[in-house]
């Protein structure tokens, strides 16, 4: 009997660690792992950011054309949200698909609760948010984004976790910010705040206090202090377009807490080729930096010393680096064709950049800005590292 148990345990340990070669499976952690979304083939690569290698590939995740992911609190599992409403739980250690459900018709991303027990999806169709048990993916709460008097449902954007099992998000069609409290998931409590025209994405500051929705339909952003939400939404950067006709936007910018560096928020303008700089204490504009094209991701290096920017089609072959001391462009790079996303390693010595049309992930050193290595990847888009697990708003 003890022999059987030990054999069983050994077999189990082999199952858990097929990533290592040879008969002796080595134990390893997951804090330096991550995933690369292969958008066209419905797969993700599991990557190791220390050794800068691809460890495996997990297939069968559906339509990943606008995929994103969040991570379990123990950094072992990635929850991948697919465009087709699929929610897939991927084991980074074994490079396997643990569970997959189809939870909506059209989904755009998700968030993880403060305690790590709920994984929440934001959906375009049917518009709303849904919470799932992060262990089993069983549905725990369904909160439709209903607005107006006719029962219409809005597309949901910008979902972010807040302390206290709360979630903030914005309603594209209804022009609202909402906060849903899921501390008692059977009785979700939602409060709505008028925000402005056509919110397209949102972010929460790294401390979980301020939620900001970017607005497509007007010049400005909507700011809600979630410590005192009863004060309502305040417009920041109102009229930043100065009445000039907006330039065409061929891809919506993406907002997350990565915009904050050194007490300032670096935010993409809409319809202007500028990065707007705001003081995070006063929320007043302190500058604007002309850039190559319509910014999409405006991401601070973890130390905040630099901000890296990529751009919308047709200028998506470029990346620019902002020096945050001078608030000027310090470098302009061409890392490849169709740069869709960037992700810094946990402490920022390197940045991984996806070049979709080169079928490559290009790793740059952030001190020299030089290429360290390129990895083969099939039409890569999002690159997401497991250390997101510990960050509010990711």
């Amino acid at each position: 009997m003890p022999f059987i148990i030990s054999t069983l345990l050994f077999a189990l340990s082999l199952c858990l660690l097929p990533l290592t070669a040879g008969a002796e499976p080595a134990l390893r952690g997951t804090g330096d792992l991550g995933i690369v979304i292969e958008r066209a083939s419905g797969s993700v690569q599991i990557v190791d950011t220390t050794r800068q290698t691809v460890l495996g590939r997990v297939q069968g995740l559906g339509d990943l054309s606008h995929a994103s992911a969040v991570f379990s609190r123990d950094q072992r599992y990635a929850y991948v949200f697919g465009r087709d409403g699929g929610l897939s739980k991927v084991d980074l250690l074994t490079a396997t698909l643990v569970r997959r459900i189809t939870q909506a018709g059209n989904s755009i991303g998700g968030a993880m609760s403060q305690d790590g027990r709920l994984v929440v999806a934001q959906n375009y169709e049917p518009g709303g948010i849904k919470a799932f048990d992060s262990d089993t993916l069983a549905l725990v709460a369904d909160v439709p984004a209903t607005y107006g008097t006719e029962g219409k449902r809005s597309k949901v954007v910008g979902l972010a976790d807040l302390p206290g099992q709360r979630f903030a998000y914005a309603l594209f069609d209804a022009g609202e910010i909402r906060i849903t409290d899921l501390s008692d998931p059977r009785n979700p409590r939602t409060t709505a705040y008028p925000a402005g025209k056509q919110p397209y994405d949102g972010l929460v500051t790294p401390d979980g206090r301020y939620f900001i929705a970017g607005l497509f339909g007007e010049d400005g952003l909507a700011l809600l202090d979630t410590w005192q939400p009863e004060k309502g939404v305040r417009k920041v950067l109102a009229g930043y377009g100065k009445g000039e006709a907006p330039l065409p936007v061929y891809k919506m910018p993406h907002l997350r807490g990565w915009s904050i560096a050194g007490g300032r928020a670096y935010l993409p303008a809409i319809g202007r080729h500028e990065v707007l700089v705001v003081d995070t204490r006063s929320w007043e504009e302190v500058g604007r930096i002309p850039v190559k094209s319509q910014p999409v991701f405006v991401m601070a290096r973890p130390d905040g010393r630099e901000v890296w920017v990529n751009f919308a089609f047709p200028d998506n072959g470029w990346v620019q680096v902002i020096d945050t001391l001078r608030n000027e462009i310090s470098d302009t790079l061409q890392p490849g064709k169709a740069i869709l996303h960037m992700e810094f390693t946990p402490r920022g010595e390197a940045v991984w950049i996806s070049a979709r049309d080169d079928n490559q992930v290009v790793i740059h050193d952030t001190a020299s800005h030089k290429v360290i290595r390129s990895l083969q990847s099939d039409s890569p888009s999002g690159i997401l590292f497991s250390t997101r697990a510990g960050r509010t708003g990711f």
Partner: protein, 107 residues
């Protein structure tokens, strides 16, 4: 006379409608553009996203000229941008016809 001029102008303006189809290489890059870059709002499978679905079923009843005009001019008040300058009339009409017939797979 004026009417004749107007008619001539109209014929000239609509000349691109009769223009030759984009060549094979251009068609390939247009398929890539629609799937990948239009796809960032309309979905890689064109089932919709922030923008509406662009499947043949959803577009039923549209005429190709209106669809091409939407591509070229965009839709003010919505996030749909004008593709004028990036696509010419022949490109837009070709894309419109493909969308109405069911857009080719990119791969």
């Amino acid at each position: 006379m004026h009417r004749g001029l107007a008619l001539a102008a109209l014929l000239l303006a609509s000349a691109p409608l009769m223009a030759a189809e984009p060549d094979a290489a251009r068609q390939k890059s247009l398929i890539h553009l629609v799937r990948q870059d239009c796809g960032s709002c309309h979905g890689l499978t064109l089932q919709g996203g922030l923008g509406p679905a662009l499947t043949a079923a959803r577009l039923k009843g549209w005429n190709p000229a209106d669809l091409a005009a939407t591509i070229i001019q965009g839709r003010p008040g919505t996030p749909m941008p004008p593709f004028k300058g990036l696509l010419d009339e022949a490109d837009a009409h070709w894309i419109a016809r493909q969308l109405l017939a069911g857009f080719p797979e990119g791969r």
